[in-house]
């Protein structure tokens, strides 16, 4: 039977099915095949799981710790009535942690092309692009201003969230396919610096991935243009701290800002000995872009969060020391682009919060005055790129936060991956890789209904006292093998597609009786969209009007109950996943 063979489909309906039905993968900026790697964990094949991750994201061990997890927000297990999302991120780390010590990575190499690419900035976007471009056979040179590669990963994220040895190994693996790494070498217009224009001459393509490394200033009353000695910018605070400079904070620390950087600053400050650390935000906790788990850990460490306030001025004593910050009360305004809320200060609502150190972490921006060729710049000061990732100067590409403004690490990795495809296409004059859906018939459900009742595992963490004792000790301890497998069972494996063969169905309703949700429906019609895809289902409760019994893949949680209950075995399961194929 043709049904029993693996086939590849580039039919937009099949690609659309995967996009619609595997929400985690769709949500992942890097397009990670989440169900596949989780399934491999359950099978105990941690190395293979790690490799599956690495196909999309070259830093699984890193992202497994610090990812912002858009996949978990999309996870079907977290949909209303289904419980909590699968701990996708923790499992990613588990694959990395549990793989064999002598694990060998696999790379699929293209023949050398003889093309040379320069990448400026060894942050996550730059590293991802460098890796992918070198796989594609190009010679890559990666320039980095700092002493070590990694960008924000190495200098922005505290070690208690991302141990540097993990980072070092993965960066090394990413770059060791012949990428020439030139650290401590700044690109720009300064003395002794290499200019972008000369890179463009020496290389076939140049990619700028310098990120957003300039702190966003906070306008305050009586601002003298320079920072008060008790005030710091969050990113600078972290970078200096990670460069190894001695940082000091007062007893009471106020952090202003609502992102991961603010949270990291607060937690570092706590480890530097601050007793009262408060994060002040303009809007409210509801609207800040950090994960609840990270927020909870910060709170457990005693960090408090106060909302609806904007700093207005510093309060100082006669000696000039800061004694507090004057805030103005806000109310919530409309929505800003990107789903953030606006905060509107209320006149005359000023109040003072005492504090000794103020850390401002309200955001970062790009710097592009180092580019000596003419490029179009948007209103926000970021360079403009076209669909193919190229700036207005031929051969000059840009990606990551440098283009999009401050985003998450996984966005940067996804960007790096995407732009490397664009650069390759431009360099080779044709698209060499494309996407297809691999469809494989599966013999059984691969899951048990009892898996659906496993509750989300909680990441074991360092005790509170140990966190203060060892400021660099990783807070999250990782999942052990048994826990990881248990958590892996929770994944619905959304890439499994259940279909009832209407011709063989005997309408016995046995599947409906065992269905865990309203996922199998009696219908009297299906909308067929103009492109041939199925639209909404016309449900009926009237037995005499039933035309078919239909599995609603959107509701389906792949428990396998129906498959097991069907007396005539008219339900089939196929595994559908997006793969890269040669064009």
């Amino acid at each position: 039977m043709p049904d029993e063979e693996v086939r590849h489909s580039s039919d937009p309906r099949d690609i659309g099915w995967v996009r619609q039905n595997v929400p985690c993968q769709t949500a992942c900026p890097a397009g990670t095949n989440v169900p596949a790697y989780i399934r491999l964990i359950l099978e105990g094949r941690y190395g293979a799981s790690y490799e599956t991750n690495r196909e999309a994201n070259v830093l699984p061990g890193v992202l497994g710790r610090i990812c912002s997890r858009p996949c978990e927000a999309a996870c079907r297990h977290g949909w209303p009535g289904n419980g909590e999302p699968v701990a996708i991120c923790h499992l990613k780390r588990a694959a990395s942690d549990l793989k064999h010590a002598g694990h060998r990575i696999t790379e699929q190499l293209f023949a050398p092309t003889g093309k040379r690419v320069a990448i400026v900035g060894a942050g996550p976007a730059g590293v991802a692009a460098a890796h992918d471009l070198s796989l594609l056979g190009h010679d890559v040179t990666l320039f980095e201003r700092e002493e070590r590669p990694g960008g924000m990963l190495a200098y922005g994220i505290p070690e208690f969230r991302l141990p540097r040895d993990v980072l070092a190994v993965e960066l090394h693996n990413a770059l060791r396919l012949g990428v020439q790494m030139r650290t401590g070498e700044a690109i720009g217009n300064g003395k002794g610096e290499t200019r972008v224009s000369s890179l463009l001459k020496d290389f076939d393509a140049v990619l700028l991935t310098t990120g957003c490394m300039a702190a966003m200033p906070l306008p305050m009353r009586g601002d003298q243009g320079s920072l008060h000695r008790d005030v710091e910018y969050g990113l600078d605070f972290l970078v200096e701290y990670h460069r190894g400079e001695r940082k000091r904070v007062g007893r009471r620390v106020a952090v202003v800002g609502a992102g991961f950087t603010a949270l990291d600053c607060a937690r570092v400050a706590r480890r530097l000995g601050a007793e009262e650390v408060t994060i002040h935000i303009r809007t409210t906790e509801e609207y800040i872009p950090v994960t609840a788990e990270e927020m909870f850990e910060a709170k457990r460490e005693g960090i408090r969060l106060k909302g609806l306030r904007t700093p207005a001025a510093l309060v100082t004593d006669e000696s000039g020391r800061m004694t507090g910050v004057e805030f103005v009360q806000n109310r919530l305004g409309g929505w800003r682009a990107g789903g953030r809320r606006q905060a509107i200060p209320i006149d005359g609502s000023e109040f003072v919060e005492p504090c000794d150190t103020l850390i401002i972490a309200i955001g970062q921006k790009t710097v592009n005055d180092f580019i000596d060729v003419k490029v179009e710049v948007g209103r926000d000061g970021n360079v403009l790129v076209s669909e193919d990732g190229m700036c207005s100067a031929a051969g000059l590409f840009a990606a990551g936060d440098f283009v999009r403004g401050p985003t998450m690490v996984v966005d940067a990795v996804g960007e790096g991956r995407r732009v490397s495809q664009c650069i390759d296409t431009w360099l080779m004059g044709k698209r060499r890789r494309t996407q297809a859906v691999r469809i494989e018939p599966v013999a059984g459900p691969q899951r048990e209904r009892s898996f659906d009742f496993i509750t989300r595992t909680h990441m074991p963490t360092l005790t509170l006292s140990d966190r203060i004792r060892d400021a660099k000790g990783e807070v999250e301890l990782g999942l052990d093998e048994a826990t990881a497998k248990e958590e892996a069972k929770r994944c619905y494996l959304c890439f499994l597609r259940y279909t009832i063969d209407v011709d063989r169905c005997i309408y016995c309703r046995a599947c409906i009786e065992v269905a865990p949700r309203n996922c199998i429906k009696m219908i009297n019609g299906v909308e067929i969209k103009p492109d041939g895809t199925y639209g909404s289902l016309a449900e009926t409760k009237d037995w005499s009007k039933v035309a078919a019994i239909w599995i609603d893949n959107n509701e389906c949680i792949r428990c396998g109950n129906c498959y097991r209950a069907c007396p005539v075995k008219c339900i089939s399961i196929s595994r559908c996943e997006l793969v890269d194929v040669e064009a």
Partner: protein, 346 residues
Amino acid sequence: MSERHHVIVGMGITGNEAAITLRRREPQSRITIVTLASLLFYNRYDLPQVFRGKHDWREFLVHPPAFYDDNRITVRRNSRVANVDPLNKVMTLEHKEDIPYDTLLVATGGRGWIPEELAEFRPLMQGFGSFEQAITVARALPEGGGRVVMLGGDMIGLDLARTLIDTGHRVTLVAGEQTFWPHQVSAERRPAFVAALETMGVEVVEQDSVGGVAQIAQGAKGLPARKVVFRDGSELMADVVMPFYGIQPAIDFMGRTGVDVERGLLVNPELRTTDAAIWAAGDVCQIWSQEENRYRFYYGWRNVRAMGEVAAGNMTGGNDAFVADQDEKLEIDAEGRLVSPFWEYA
């Protein structure tokens, strides 16, 4: 045209007062109260009475069941709201039922807040938010006097402490920031307030002096059921450990509504949220205070009852602002004991 459907989430003082007001103002409309509780409206402020032997919940009911039939108020108990869709004005209950509304009043109140550092010990602590919890505590205390360790200690907890001491139990309070919540006590006045507690028979342990709670553990065999271990190594044995750190609005289900939230639902003085069809009242909302230029909570039964009435009035065409008529005042009386109108339920 079918009658308007007013849906109230929450069946405390606020929700009930709102339902009654709605019925009075609109004899025809449909009124539904959705509550997590299994019981009809009872007086939460009376719950300390369980320690005086009042164990039949029927004695706590404010209205007989027939009241709801007579007033055509549908009460859906054991029902958790999963989501509210403000666009289509449909509320979804956790058991997957859609309930359309014309106006929605959120009066879910608050639940006891537990600081994150104590969250892992939650199973070993006992709350006091419902009749069921109150009875559970009463049953856990040995007859003839047991020992209760209260952590934090807010005004709800202090009220309970008064009854417990009165009924022969021993109360140890681990005092901290929230001890007099929601009343604000200045640093200067605090020692006097703590002394007043001791006068009332409460044993007070200052949290700062013991370094805070490090662990709550199961008691050993033959000993009281719980052990509280402090950072400085000292320990307290207890039959029951109860956290009282103030309350936190219960608004999880409002996550996808787009209604403005800080800690509670943000409402204007007329108690309307940022959605024209959704109101909020009681401990769940932060009301804009023109005088103080900020959103603030108002606690106390008189306030939350008044909020229910105001919200219901405004849901049915009124336009009245909420005026606070009771403060969470706490004072020391002539005998050196704490007194508060917060504790005088009528």
